[in-house]
Symmetry: C2
């Protein structure tokens, strides 16, 4: 009987690169999973090494519901001030679960790696994901890795799916805004988009702006604890397309209008300056750590105070109100007292911002 040789040396995490073998389902792929992914994401479900993860619901009470959310992440560049595609992939999906009012519990992660991608970059991204997941209290319990030839990817794309537990009786969604409700935002607008744009070589500006990429489940929990169940109608994280797009979506889903007050919008001076330079409107620039909350008017003060008491919400502001409007317009009173329509995104898109 031959003795099985242990011919695979540890991965060269300094100088090694992804090759097609890492995606072929053999020993090289297993090694990549064990030495990079499993080591960083380590948890009991993942350690089982099965095709799926077995998960015990923490409190399977009658009426318990799940929330499931998914995001593909194709951001370019992969590393940017304030984060990278790994932390972003965790935050993005944790936030999609959290804005439904659910407690995020588990994530899956699937990776599409481009042949030639440096293992050192992959390791850095995976460790950043692991740290973001730990900080958010979620476990990355299952995953998959595929490799595509050079010229059919861009380093790494990451799709994450999250599961959270939704407490009985909690009903939060885009269709629940009612005329009279108040629109709150948890902080400054456009930080993520401007931070990413600042890294693109073709754009000749330097800025100190950092992405706001962050997990919002703690902020959401604080907000929900501060007001009666039902007072928070809608929560959203205004990512791709920015606040303007998010509010148009809500107006459409709820069949209402929304009136914004431009003077109340929190925007960092550097972001404002960068947007002016580039001819961009911060209303349409992506955020990755901001919460839009639509709240019953009588609980708006308590909600705003709760947001401001959280480290992620110190710059929270009341920025508008919901009104009856059969056209479902988002409008804005400008700083000069005029009126404008905040329409759906038009003109040049900002590609691959998340």
């Amino acid at each position: 009987m031959p003795v099985k040789p242990d011919y695979i040396r540890p991965l060269d995490l300094k100088h090694g690169r992804i090759d097609m073998n890492h995606g072929a389902g053999g020993r090289a792929g297993l090694q990549l999973i064990e030495e990079v992914f499993a080591r960083a994401f380590d948890n009991p479900a993942l350690r089982e090494g099965n095709d799926g993860a077995v998960l015990a619901l923490p409190a399977p009470a009658a009426g318990h519901r799940l929330v499931m959310a998914t995001d593909a992440h194709v951001i370019s560049p992969l590393f940017f001030p304030g984060g990278d595609i790994g932390s972003l992939a965790v935050h993005g999906t944790v936030n999609d679960v959290a804005v439904m009012g659910a407690v995020p519990l588990w994530l899956s992660a699937s990776f599409i790696l481009e042949e030639g991608f440096p293992l050192a970059d992959l390791q850095r991204i995976v460790q950043s994901m692991a740290a973001a997941a730990r900080a958010a209290g979620v476990a990355i319990v299952t995953g998959d890795t595929k490799v595509v030839e050079q010229g059919h990817g861009d380093g790494v794309y990451i799709s994450t799916t999250g599961i959270g537990a939704l407490p009985p009786g909690r009903e939060i969604g885009g269709a629940r805004a009612r005329p009279g409700d108040v629109v709150l935002v948890s902080g400054t607008l456009g930080d993520h988009g401007v931070a990413v744009l600042s890294q693109r070589e073709s754009l000749g500006f330097d800025t100190e702006v950092r992405s706001d990429s962050a997990a919002l489940h703690g902020l959401v929990a604080r907000l929900l604890a501060a007001v009666p169940e039902g007072a928070v109608r809608t929560l959203r994280d205004p990512t791709r397309g920015g606040l303007g797009t998010t509010l148009n979506e809500i107006a459409r889903q709820s069949r209402v209008g929304i009136a914004l007050d431009e003077a109340a919008l929190p925007i960092a001076p550097q972001v404002e300056a960068a947007c002016e330079l580039l001819g961009l409107d911060p209303l349409y620039i992506a955020n990755e750590g901001k919460l839009v909350a639509i709240v019953a008017a009588e609980h708006a003060d308590a909600a705003l105070a709760a947001l401001r008491a959280d480290p992620l919400g110190t710059a929270a502001a009341r920025i508008g109100r919901v009104r009856a409007d059969e056209h479902h317009f988002v409008t804005m009173t400008t700083r000069f007292g005029g009126q404008r329509v905040v329409d759906w995104l038009s003109g040049e898109p900002l590609p691959r911002i998340c």
Copy 2:
């Protein structure tokens, strides 16, 4: 007050193509979601249009557990005899949930589209996904769409994540095989891989082989109903890397050896012929609709009969047994009575087979 123009015409699903606007989070992206994805996948959770889907567990009994599984799909070409990337993305994840012994309930789907991809192809793929999901009894409840520039993708990549409900007391996994257990396979090996290879232009052979891509949850249910709880130790779908890789994984997880009988392996004559022509070993060729079952010896006959009674298992066979082996070798008695080691995949990989 301006009247919001309804300036977007219906998508041109015959001649239109994906452009960067479809990924920018504005009205074009919303239109793509509504006219292609939501129309095909239609279900109440998706219809809500929120960042995540709210899902009520059908029977949230105490001790109820979930199974979560995920796969990225990067197969090339996108269309092949017997399926396409859409049906494959559903089957692949449904099967990963089913082989854990769980009942598949919900899927999420995230799409990475390449600029210039024909909308007609996308529509065809999405409708194929929808049909596969309906047939498997799962709902595609949430999703995401991103667009990358030409030269950074390959038409479409699809990541799917599945959730299933695992009945109390059910324990199936790769680490549960024991010496004496019997190894069953539900049908012929290598059909998927050969069907896909036959479509690659650079390979000059024509064959009638169709992919076996199929959802295995019904076959699994029939098998589990035929034997006592606990008799089925391990279930796997031997995809990328084929049966040889899957059995090596199980041997390693369970710390056992596995002895195969080559004469018992079901392989279609056309697949055998194609493999000979290409110098490939069908043991390492991907399957997408086959089940490997490791079963307690005393229940192997009943298990085999149950597999054979299912339309997806008519060619099921008993192909080997589990044995004690501290080296965790997979070995095979060849047709000529010799012995060989079925090692981990080595040599040239078959890229992008799923």
